[in-house]
Amino acid sequence: MTPILEVKNLNRRFGGLKAVSDVSFAVTENQIKAVIGPNGAGKTTLFNLISGALPVDSGQVLFQGKPLQGRQPWQIATAGIARTYQNIKLFPGMTALENVMIGRHSRTRSGFIAGMLNLPRTWKEERDIREESMALLELLEIAELADSEAISLAFGQQRAVEFARALAAEPNLLLLDEPAAGLNMQETAEVARLISKIRERKITVLLVEHDMSLVMDISDEIVVLSFGQKIAEDVPTAIQQNPEVIKIYLGDGDDA
């Protein structure tokens, strides 16, 4: 199988701190891969480097064989990488539906002139965007919240809207940064079910998560980061037995 994403010797510093240090791994198409590690291990930074939100110091990210170096986040998104945020970033002043509709941006085209003239092609596209976004809200079982302001929703509902917004982009690769953080057990189970379900849509998932039972349940492979470095990469059962992984998680108990 060809890797959809390859991370090669990636480095990123913040002042004297090596947030991501010489990290390499690959994600195979249609895989669910997890990145775990204690707080501050560099997981979110890794996501920011892949999605272009932060520039890399050195190393390479290859998406579908092509280097992402020097590309703007919107170009990377258009290439097929969507993401959610650990600290939810929904658009204020916009409804849940509108937030999801923004997710369709990278898959639609109408520009300034077409928008001003509201050509038939334009309003048909707009109607499609609305219908597709509504369908995603239904998939996530929050259709009745479509017209509520997104940022005023309950936490779990906001996570769902963000999820729908990312799916709206029909990504090839979906980066989920702690999708279950702050959710209760029932909601977490829902997230697990959903992640398994989107695999059917031919979406590859790279996931950061602290909830170990969720990670062990759904991932095909796991990368373990500690202090910016990759210390292990294997299937879940092997990761559970790995002495080094056990050591960091025992040494920093409240993260497990």
Partner: protein
Amino acid sequence: MKRYLPLFVLLALVVLVQLVTSWTHTTYYLTQLTMSAYYSLVIIGLCLLMGYAGQISLGHAGFFAIGGYLSATLTTHNLVTYQDHTLIVLLKKSGCLVAGQDLYGGQLLVVQPWVACLVAVGVTVLIAFLIGGPVLKLKGHYLAMATLGFGTIVYRVVLANRLFGEADGISSVPPFPLLPGVAVSGGFGARVSNYYIAWGLVLIFMILLINLINSRVGRALRAIHGSEEAANAMGVNTAGYKLKIFMLSAGVAALAGVFLTHYNGGIGPSEAGVMKSVRYVAIVAVGGMASIWGALSMGVVLNFLSLRGVFGSYDDAVFGVILIVIMLFAPEGLLRLKLFTRLKKLRGGGQ
């Protein structure tokens, strides 16, 4: 189409006001209403940039003035002395120049108003493109200060330059013949037709801008307002969109400047003044920031009152006070205050 309904109401109102003024022999009101329409055009363009895309500009009087001044200069500056120059000959042949006579019967050769208008708007959009590139990387106060700097430069340039008439500005700007028999001019007999020209232009731009707001682009602009980082991660070319909306709103301001200059028969440096820019920003704010209808209605009402002299010598101060009060109590804009909570209450009450 629900979104166009208010436009029909506006159209009806425009016609009604004209009829009432003609019945009551108060058509002199139409003069200020025409001028208010042109200022409102600047304001709805700024509303898109500021209210929807969230990018402040304290330099919009500068764009208005560049449009007005360029058009005024081109349509008044006599090119007779260069008439043998190949370029001038060529321009004359292609119909870009018009010959005429000045007040004393001297030969006059100036640029055709349509051509002047296109050049004025085109150059303004180009300037917006050139300064927008670097300036729009800035946010908040820094963007406000940079655009303020731009406005100040335009003001000083028109004030210091002989070509732009220094403190006197430019006068004797000829009418702008739009169609045979219809011209933008301040002539007494043209009062009613010019009222309709101005409001026709406002209506056209209301349609275009309302369409834009309700489009994929409008949604992306609002997303940029909310979170530039997230918008970018969703595939919105944030830098490109900010630049385009900046150019669009500068172009609309320039067009308003061109038309008002022909209507008034001239333009002076006060149109480029910083207080004018502050006024535009204050009106967008009091109209509700992200509300093009709020911006339009406040634009008409406040400009009309100001032009009628209702604020007396406190004219500029009034707009300063408006701005302070809004920034203190409703930075998101007055008319939009707690809109969402109110809507939610309504829905909650219905259940």
